[in-house]
């Protein structure tokens, strides 16, 4: 089931034929790709410092490292997006200069980026066609893409506009697009972060299959378990340097993590047997019609979060998570006042600031342009979320509402210290912080208020391991201190780390909550696949 689009053009395609891999000019021995002393300087800052890396034909090679370790810079050089400052790249023993992604594709390198390179105004098929060499008809591309997406369990509508798709769906386009190129080396940057365990399993099968056909995979991930499961070798980066090359199966997760972050990662300690208080956040038969033709409608959602509890909502991207967040936060109030209750008072029709004043805090999924504005300073971004809830501290001058920059800056410093936000300068623009540090600030901005209710959507999406564990610990601690915490996440590791209760959202419906301890990953996977224990009978298991 290897996608061979250009072979198909020549009329050679043979569906399902095994082993007929059109490997171009395969040499018998030697590494497929060898990188020597590859260095990339940005000014005087070495994002990659004399990297050595060797990928053999037919291996799955893991590239491990924290955010900012230089992984992305390295693969961008391999894919022709960035030009190396010095060092060499050898492809099949031949010294090559890769000056553009199309060069890379010609060599046989495919790439699935973590940050998507998609044109929002175009359709899925058009985006895929853009990266194809030669003139393949759009209909053919759409057909191939649909076929591939089905084979690999990555459902995609080729006619959908990218702008209307969720983060998870966009990643699927990238994966399908890379597979369509029939690459010898496929680079995957955190590919599983939005897949269900079952879908990830299917992807792993694909990767193993690609390997069995003699192709190589460079697999970037921070999920150590995955790396140990499918990768043959691993190269670990830290601060732009190689800190280790190993066989991941011979290592423990802890030893891999140590190579990655330089010290042992603090393990989040889940809450013990703390007492549960009153219900602080509640949704009663919350139904919301889809705002756009591509949004998901929420259907009769009931949930309750008591003080001291962390309710995690699992689910694959695009199943109503953002719509649920919008309704709970009050960014888009709902018609029925009783449908959302904060601290046992109806707030369904109230706006976000009214809910904040009742003691709720909110952390949206998207950092840039939603939770924060990249061009504004951190202190301005603090005002963004707290102009009303902290108006006595932050605003002066009566009706003029003059922002007290002194007070705001002091609070910014307090939050930065509490959450260990690393930044350049006292009050830099939010956009200059790394993803992990900005997220720590955004979460810290709410924690600083000690909210009685906290609703968080994807708390650690695209965040490095150190920051993620810090954020998760903070969520757990907040619940311990007597707040009600609702976490919407696609990351099952995260969910099991923080949750006391788990529910699953699928197509706008929420399953019953289960105590975290009683729920297995397989069960969650089934719920994500649409078997909401509430409405479907056991017979539906056959559908899977």
């Amino acid at each position: 089931m290897v996608p061979v689009l250009h072979a198909a053009k020549a009329g050679e395609i043979e569906e399902g034929k095994e082993g007929s891999v059109p490997v171009k000019g395969q040499t018998a021995s030697g590494p497929l790709l060898a990188v020597r002393q590859l260095t990339k300087l940005f000014g005087s800052f070495a994002a990659c410092n004399a990297i050595d890396l060797q990928i053999e034909p037919g291996e799955i090679h893991a590239l491990l490292g924290e955010n900012g370790a230089g992984k992305s810079t390295l693969v961008k050089m391999l894919f022709g997006v960035l030009a190396p400052t010095s060092g060499e790249i050898r492809w099949r023993g031949r010294n090559v200069r890769i000056t553009s992604p199309s060069d890379a594709r010609c060599l046989g390198i495919g790439m699935v980026f973590q940050h998507f390179s998609l044109f929002e105004a175009l359709t899925v098929a058009e985006n895929i066609a853009l990266s194809m060499n030669g003139s393949v008809s759009l209909a053919r591309v759409a057909e191939e893409a649909a076929r591939l997406s089905q084979i690999y369990g990555l459902p995609l509508d080729p006619k959908a506009h990218v702008a209307d798709l969720s983060v998870g769906e966009r990643q699927r386009i990238e994966i399908v697009r890379a597979l369509l190129q029939n690459p010898q080396l496929i680079i995957l940057d955190e590919p599983t972060s939005v897949l269900t365990p079952q879908e990830a399993d299917r992807l792993f099968e694909t990767l193993l299959k690609l390997r069995s056909e003699g192709r190589s995979v460079l697999y970037i991930s921070h999920r150590l378990e995955e790396v140990q499961r499918i990768c043959d070798r691993a190269t670990v980066l830290r601060h732009g340097k190689v800190t280790g090359a190993c066989d991941p199966r011979a290592e423990t997760p802890a030893s891999l993590a140590r190579m990655m972050v330089g010290s042992d990662v603090t393990v989040v300690t889940p809450e013990g047997t703390s007492t549960r208080g009153d219900v602080q956040l509640e949704a009663r038969h919350l139904s919301v019609a889809a705002r756009t033709p591509f949004a998901v409608s929420l259907k009769d959602i009931c949930l309750r979060v008591r003080a001291g509890e962390v309710l995690a909502i699992a689910g694959v991207a695009g199943n109503g998570q953002s719509e649920l967040f919008d309704a709970l936060s009050g960014e888009y109030p709902v018609a029925d006042d009783d449908a959302v209750q904060i601290r046992q008072r109806p707030v369904g029709t109230r706006n976000i600031n009214a809910r904040r004043l009742m003691g709720a805090g909110f952390v949206p999924e998207e950092r840039h342009g939603h939770a924060a504005i990249s061009g504004l300073s951190l202190s301005d971004n603090l005002v963004l979320a707290r102009s009303q809830s902290d108006r006595q501290a932050f605003l002066g001058g009566g009706a003029l509402k003059i922002i007290r920059h002194g007070a705001v800056k002091a609070a910014t410093r307090r939050i930065s210290e509490a959450m260990d936000v690393r930044k350049s300068g006292d009050d830099p623009p939010a956009g200059s912080l790394s993803g992990g540090n900005l997220q720590k600030f955004i979460v810290g901005r709410e924690l600083d208020r000690q909210p009685a209710v906290l609703v968080v959507n994807q708390p650690t999406w695209g965040v490095d391991a150190g920051a993620a564990s810090r954020i998760r610990q903070a969520l757990v601690d907040l619940a311990k201190a007597g707040s009600a915490v609702l976490v919407i996440s696609q990351d099952l590791d995260e969910i099991f780390e923080v949750a006391t209760e788990i529910a699953v959202i699928n197509e706008g419906r929420l399953s019953d909550p289960y105590p975290a301890r009683e729920l297995s990953r397989e069960k969650i996977g089934l719920l994500m696949g649409g078997m909401s224990g509430k409405t479907e009978s056991a017979g539906a298991a056959h559908a899977h």
Binding site: S102, E331, L384
Partner: protein, 364 residues
């Protein structure tokens, strides 16, 4: 082959400040080339265009008279543009403000009172704001594009004024000239200084610039404007309403344009004529961008653009070129301001390979 604009990772802070000056220098340079092509000595031509109008007291007064509406409108537009609302129809709001304010001295020409002038100013602001309310309503509730609606309404206002002064409001004692009655003494915005014609409209402009600067820099309202202009979604998260901001920014800029209109008519003309503006409402867009949407910068930029009007008039007399030169200079200036801004945020690349698009997408 094609040309691509590739977004820079970081805009240079230094060049953001320098860009208006670079744009000015380029405008003058190309203006000189233009004069040379017209067969004039570029140095003397530029001198009579840009320097001579500044050499006498009376012409400095004229400069302030011309700068006042540009600054008032530009300051209002900066609020609009910063909040991502593109009001291009300030020219129409200027005219409708002038008409609304002139209603009192034209229709009740016998009424003399110290209250008259403040009432006229107020009516002028209301008239401008109401006319801006049309594109505001259409954008907020019908999702129309305010650039188109506000621009098209300019022609409605111009023709409405033309009809008024030729028809119902024409001066009965005016020998059929298309003009209204001349305003009574109490309806005239007085001169600020004894030395020349500069009227209090200039003071309004400076006060408005300082107040808006204060609002943008220190108050929550200014913060709201900035936030909604940069990201509607983040604004919603902050609890700000982008719909209310459409109303606020359009009404605010309409009111300032209307105030500029009635100040101009009351202070400089003392009657309505078929044409009361040499394109102030459009030139103010250049002023707003040349001033980097900063109200204090706009005050300075307003003086620069006012100079192009004066220079155009002076150049007709002294070197005998058409006053269209004014428009050329304004056009050059806007072109260079926007080009400089574009180059601050983007770098230009020539792309030979049509598949390289993915690369540029990735680069940021």
């Amino acid at each position: 082959m094609r040309i691509e604009l590739e977004k820079r990772a970081k805009a240079s802070a230094l060049f953001s400040i320098l860009s208006p000056f670079i744009a000015l220098a380029l405008t003058i340079l190309f203006g000189g080339v233009m004069f040379a092509l017209l067969g004039k000595n570029p140095v003397t031509a530029l001198y009579s265009f840009f320097v001579e109008p500044l050499s006498e007291v009376w012409s400095l007064h004229e400069l302030a008279i011309k700068a006042a509406p540009l600054i008032l409108i530009g300051v209002g537009l900066s609020v609009c543009f910063r909040s991502n609302n593109w009001n291009i129809g300030a020219e129409g709001q200027f005219i409708m403000g002038a008409i609304a304010g002139s209603a009192l001295p034209v229709l009740f020409y016998d009424w003399q009172s110290p209250l008259l002038l403040p009432l006229m100013m107020l009516l002028g602001m209301i008239g401008g704001a109401l006319f801006a309310a049309i594109p505001a309503f259409l954008k907020a509730h019908m999702n129309t594009n305010e650039i188109l609606t506000s621009l098209m309404l300019v022609y409605v206002a111009q023709l409405f004024l033309d009809w008024l002064v030729r028809g119902p409001w024409r001066n009965p004692q005016g020998m059929n000239f298309p003009e209204t009655r001349t305003f009574g003494a109490d309806a005239v915005l007085p001169e600020m200084l004894a030395s020349g014609r500069m009227h209090w409209g200039f003071a309004f402009a400076i006060v408005a610039a300082v107040l808006v600067w204060f609002m943008m820099r220190y108050t929550l309202k200014g913060f709201e404007i900035t936030v909604l202009g940069q990201s509607e979604r983040a604004g919603r998260f902050a609890g700000f309403s982008s719909r209310k901001m459409i109303w606020f920014s359009m009404l605010f800029s309409g009111a300032l344009a209307g105030l500029a209109g009635i100040s101009e008519v009351s202070g400089a003309m003392q009657q309505l004529r078929p044409v009361i503006s040499p394109g102030y409402g459009f030139t103010a867009i250049i002023v707003a961008f040349l001033g980097r949407l900063n109200p204090l910068g706009i005050a300075a930029a307003g003086l620069v653009l006012a100079l192009t009007y004066l220079g155009g008039e002076a150049a007709q007399l002294s070197i005998g070129v058409s006053d269209k030169v004014t428009r050329v200079f304004q056009g050059l200036l806007l072109f260079f301001v926007l080009s400089c801004d574009a180059l601050i945020h983007y770098r230009v690349r020539l792309v030979w390979d049509r598949f390289a698009a993915v690369k540029t997408e990735e680069a940021h």
